[in-house]
């Protein structure tokens, strides 16, 4: 689900970076009004919880295993603003620690894995459970919220990839939506199980989350956050919009045909030539390694 760099068209990646940066800044501002500074260490520990909880695997069907992704759970427990900030942190950390998801694709990943599941999970739980935070109804709503919070990101991710001309919708949507419909059952079940556990052991924790007040501005903001990118996807799907970055590049350096494209690379054939180039690249790498190594004499700073 974490989209690497190179798979998204530049206009989609730039658009989603703008959207995500905007929503992170907005949420950070809004959150610092809402919560005392003590909430920051608490959010940090919950982000780490999301990371650690992914180690607990749960077998789903035939060899695949699911684990808690946590978007819906955080949305329900902390409210959408703090939940979104936690998930955004997790996505950034996954890109920086584990190179899971690209650098320019970070905005798209924050949107898909942070904003969409937290806001949709929160909204679904709120609609189904109303004000209740404990009892059978809240647990069932938790299941629905968990399942939806896996499905919508899969759909949004496959839409982005198909508009970017990387993976056609006919291949991407069935594969991703199908896989996540199954994984979503585990996510929903775990979200419901955690909610029922907390209701049994520590009901006041759930009530605390209920006291987060969401004003009309937040709902409008959330709606815009979802509506604007999807609207642009739908509009941009058919037409062949010019790429903003490539337009700039062409203005500076001249049309694409004249710069650097003299040696168009055939997809097949010339195998020996490619192998030669690969050997040359590896040789240069070894030479650079050796030069630094010899220039220093020792490897570790410690």
């Amino acid at each position: 689900m974490h989209i690497p760099d190179g798979f998204l068209a530049n206009r989609i990646a730039v658009l989603l970076n703008v959207v995500s940066a905007g929503s992170v800044f907005f949420a950070a501002r809004r959150h610092s009004y809402d919560a005392a500074a003590r909430a920051i260490p608490l959010m940090g520990v919950l982000s780490a919880f999301v990371f650690a909880a992914q180690l607990l695997n749960f077998p789903v069907f035939g060899g695949t295993s699911g684990h808690l992704v946590g978007g819906a759970l955080l949305g329900i427990l902390l409210g959408p603003i703090a939940g979104f900030l936690c998930m955004a942190t997790v996505v950034i950390a996954q890109a920086l620690f584990m190179q899971d998801g690209g650098l320019v694709a970070l905005g798209a990943n924050i949107f898909n894995i942070g904003a969409v599941p937290v806001f949709s999970g929160y909204a679904v739980h709120r609609l189904l459970a109303r004000e209740r935070k404990t009892g059978m109804r809240a647990v069932t709503a938790g299941f629905a919220a968990g399942w939806i919070s896996m499905m919508l990101p899969a759909v949004s991710c496959s839409l982005q990839l198909s508009i970017s001309n990387a993976i056609p919708l006919a291949v991407g949507l069935p594969a991703m939506a199908g896989y996540h419909a199954i994984i979503g059952i585990a996510e929903g079940g775990l979200t419901a199980a955690v909610i029922s556990f907390l209701a049994r052991v520590r009901p006041e924790l759930l009530k605390e989350g209920a006291s987060v007040r969401i004003g009309i501005a937040d709902w409008a903001g959330a709606l815009l956050l979802v509506a604007v990118p999807f609207g642009i996807f739908v509009l941009g799907a058919g037409s062949d919009l010019p790429d903003p970055l490539e337009t700039v590049l062409e203005a500076v350096l001249g049309p694409a045909g004249e710069r650097g494209t003299a040696t168009v690379m055939p997809a097949s054939g010339r195998l020996l030539e490619y192998m030669g180039l690969a050997v040359f690249i590896i040789g240069v790498m070894a030479a650079a390694w050796l030069a630094v190594r010899l220039g220093r004499g020792h490897g570790h700073r410690q």
């Binding site: 760099d5 190179g6 920051i40 909880a53 291949v171 350096l253 650097g260």
Partner: protein, 239 residues
């Protein structure tokens, strides 16, 4: 228990490690953006960027096998795109090849950036470049709590595995796992509260000190100018 899969090679000593965090964030972001602008099928451009990646990996002293291992992350997307290319023709294969090379190069630059910079330095670089304080602090806390919570999870898993034989019905498994996650959540909450009280008692002032002072040296402008010159030459110069 054994950890250490995060910024693993950030304590090596190389010219790249010596650069300031902000320089590396800006430089590598510029390189990634440049890679994403290479027109499809421009073999020469891809070749020079691969050469640069190879040189930087060599200079950074990070084992190339590690970088290669990290690139396996893009495999699911590659499989899906490959399936699509198999349905298309020669044009689709060409597109797939461009896609793969772009993804590979960008991942290489990302691995280089994060593994030549300690995490605390990286965070301070982000903060100085204008990233919101909530996010940077959150990342810092995440990094510090992660290993403690991972230990907790591994101990809980071990305890569960000791107490059961085989697997029960799915519903029972789900209930057990839900309780485990719930108590992990509670313990995390409580640990967060306790730690925060202790930090306040010790004079915590909403900032973390870092080991290496973040000062620009003559190397930093040299690196940035070199990166800019490289990108301009790679796009503007025909062989």
């Amino acid at each position: 228990m054994k950890h250490g899969f995060l910024d693993r090679y950030s304590n090596l000593d190389s010219p790249l490690h010596g650069l300031e965090a902000r320089t590396k964030i800006l430089g590598f972001t510029a390189l990634v953006s440049a890679v994403l602008l290479i027109p499809p099928g421009a073999g020469w451009n891809f070749f020079v960027f691969f050469l640069l990646t190879a040189i930087l990996i060599g200079v950074s002293q990070i084992p190339p096998a590690y970088v290669l291992g990290r690139t396996l992350l893009i495999l699911p997307f590659v499989l899906l795109a490959g399936l699509a290319a198999a349905l298309g023709g020669e044009q689709a294969t060409q597109r797939l090849l461009t896609l793969l090379m772009r993804a590979f190069l960008c991942l290489g630059f990302l691995v280089l950036m994060t593994n030549t910079t300690g995490f605390a330095e990286l965070l301070r670089g982000l903060r100085r470049l204008g990233c919101p304080r909530v996010i940077v602090m959150n990342l810092g806390f995440l990094y510090r709590y992660l290993f403690v919570l991972l230990d907790e999870v591994l101990r809980m898993r071990q305890a569960r595995d000791c107490r059961r034989v085989g697997r029960g019905p799915a519903a029972a498994e789900l209930k057990v796992l839900g309780s485990m996650l719930g108590s992990l959540l509670l313990r995390s909450f409580e640990r967060g509260e306790r730690t925060y009280q202790a930090m306040l008692a010790r004079g915590y002032a909403h900032d973390f000190p870092v080991m290496r002072p973040g000062r620009f040296t003559w190397r930093d402008p040299v690196f940035l100018v070199a990166v800019t010159a490289f990108i301009c030459l790679a796009f503007g110069w025909k062989p």
